[in-house]
């Protein structure tokens, strides 16, 4: 089992953090089942669905949601993987460029109801980047967003359609999904809070 680095944030020198699980494996899987039901309920024709996962954290969640939808509706929507790195708004003029992750879109998104899957949504910047990236693969009929965790510090007008759990956090906190890419090992979400109050000044990355 590997720890997935938080989507869309840069490695920075780490202050001391306390870590606690805010969602255990059963909690994650229950949320994914409920979300799959909500997706099927909201979109009668599950055949037009196209699940698109944002790496890294969205990928195990996306696989799980596809499997759940298949169980509920007997139709498995295609699963795409869409890296947002090249669409980020913070690829500044200095500093290391972040490594690219996998993109694999099995078919065009034309006319499909795309359901974007992200592990943790915070500022909304990654979802903005994902929507821009998506449009380069065609013209979806609509786009909906799943967040396993919504932290709520939105910096852009981005609405989440399906939320696993709202977790109130401080902007400096870190929330991470720990899972293997296939989502077969136990998954959990951990909240890492700064120890000792005052945080050193950090530049808030995408979220």
């Amino acid at each position: 089992m590997t720890e997935l680095p938080p989507s869309g944030s840069r490695p920075a020198p780490d202050p001391v953090r306390s870590s606690r699980a805010v969602l255990d494996d059963a909690g994650v899987r229950r949320s994914l089942v409920r979300i799959a039901h909500e997706i099927v309920e909201r979109n009668d024709a599950a055949k037009d669905l196209y699940v698109v996962a944002i790496p890294n954290g969205g990928v195990p969640l996306g696989r799980s949601i596809v499997a759940n939808i298949e169980e509920i509706s007997a139709t498995a929507p295609p699963l795409g993987i869409l890296d947002t790195t090249l669409y980020r708004d913070d690829l500044t003029t200095s500093g290391e460029r972040p490594p690219l992750r996998e993109t694999e879109m099995p078919s065009s998104v034309d006319g499909r109801v795309v359901v974007l899957i992200e592990d943790v949504v915070n500022t909304g910047r990654t979802i903005r980047a994902a929507m821009d990236a998506l449009m380069d693969f065609g013209r979806p009929r609509s786009v909906q967003v799943v967040a396993l965790v919504d932290r709520g510090h939105r910096e852009l007008p981005i609405k989440i359609d399906y939320v696993g759990k709202n977790i109130p956090t401080q902007p400096d906190d870190r929330v991470r999904l720990i899972a293997d890419p296939l989502g077969v090992e136990p998954m959990k979400v951990v909240l890492e809070e700064l120890v000792g109050g005052m945080a050193p000044p950090t530049e808030e990355g995408a979220g």
Binding site: L86, Y87, T93, P99, L100, E102, D132, D136, G138
Partner: protein, 309 residues
């Protein structure tokens, strides 16, 4: 990776791996309906070519455009620019236009380095004299890694004018750093006497060099430059060091054949080998675009002196 990409000689193996990994991700973009990402929007990439080149210049141009950079082609006739003074003048003029990356090709070794020394923008060497051609070697390594699944432990034979080839030099540095066994062969007049110091096995026999090789890399013979000075005739060269299917049998059964292009058909390679498997020449060209996108992504606009202006 530092600010510039001037050669493979000073790269670490892990930096090479990072570039190849990035290039592999970039390949997917060429399969999209919209073959363009917004990453370098608002960045200016200058192709500064002091030597004619259609392939490398277009490859860099397409790479830059797929990343949404504005690409400016600045070709200078080399005749008026043999003096170092005027090269630096040109470079400084360019620098005043605030490019985010400058790609330099020059017939004289070391010129990209001199230009990099005076420019704020990162410089990519697109071939300097008989010195280095790093992006060619990187795209060759990418092609081999994809064909063979690895580079470490492979036997790579480089055939031709080793002495005057920047492609050979960069590939020797690259493949040895990545753990391959590199053999070189060519007419004795084209093998530098001290070449073994680079960690390669020299040989004057094609058969010996490609015996059991996983990769056979043919170099282009510069007919126009050499005009028979280093070998008796094109025909004799083709007979001795040209590759056809019969000679290829000495290599491993699953060996691949590479060539940086453009091929002198019937000289380095038989017609049949140019166009058909196991030659991967067009894959090399395709990989060249993705590889150059990776290099631009990793270094363009990353000038350390961010405070200028």
């Amino acid at each position: 990776m530092g600010q510039d990409l001037l050669g493979i000689e000073h790269l670490e193996a892990e930096e090479i791996v990072k570039i190849l990994d990035t290039a592999e991700r970039m390949q997917e973009i060429a399969t999209r309906e919209v073959k363009k990402v917004p990453t370098l929007r608002g960045h200016t990439v200058v192709n500064l070519f002091f030597e004619p080149s259609t392939r490398t210049a277009s490859s860099f141009e397409i790479a830059g455009k797929r990343l949404s950079a504005d690409v400016v082609n600045f070709s200078v006739s080399s005749s008026s620019l043999t003096k170092a003074e005027s090269i630096l003048d040109t470079a400084q003029t360019l620098d005043a236009m605030d490019p985010d990356c400058v790609i330099v090709r020059h017939p004289v070794a070391g010129v990209p380095k001199r230009i990099a020394d005076v420019l704020h923008a990162p410089v990519i060497n697109a071939g300097d004299g008989a010195h280095e051609h790093p992006t060619q070697a990187l795209l060759d390594m990418l092609t081999v890694r994809q064909e063979k699944g690895r580079i470490d432990g492979l036997a790579v034979a480089i055939v031709g004018d080793i002495m005057h080839s920047r492609v050979a030099r960069s590939n020797i540095y690259g493949f040895t750093k990545m753990g391959a066994e590199v053999r070189v062969t060519g007419p004795p007049t084209m093998l530098p006497p001290d070449i073994a110091e680079l960690g390669v096995k020299p040989s004057t026999s094609l058969r010996e060099a490609i015996d059991g090789a996983d990769v056979v890399m043919m170099l282009r013979i510069q007919r126009e430059r050499l005009s028979g000075a280093l070998f008796p005739s094109i025909r004799e060269y083709a007979a001795t060091f040209g590759l056809d299917r019969a000679k290829l049998r000495y290599a491993r059964d699953d060996a691949i054949v590479m060539h940086p292009g453009p091929v002198n058909r019937g000289v380095e390679l038989s017609h049949d080998l140019v166009d058909h498997s196991p030659s991967v020449i067009l894959d090399q060209v395709r990989n060249g675009v993705a590889l150059r996108m990776a290099v631009l992504y990793l270094i363009a606009g990353r000038a350390d002196s961010g405070e200028r202006g």
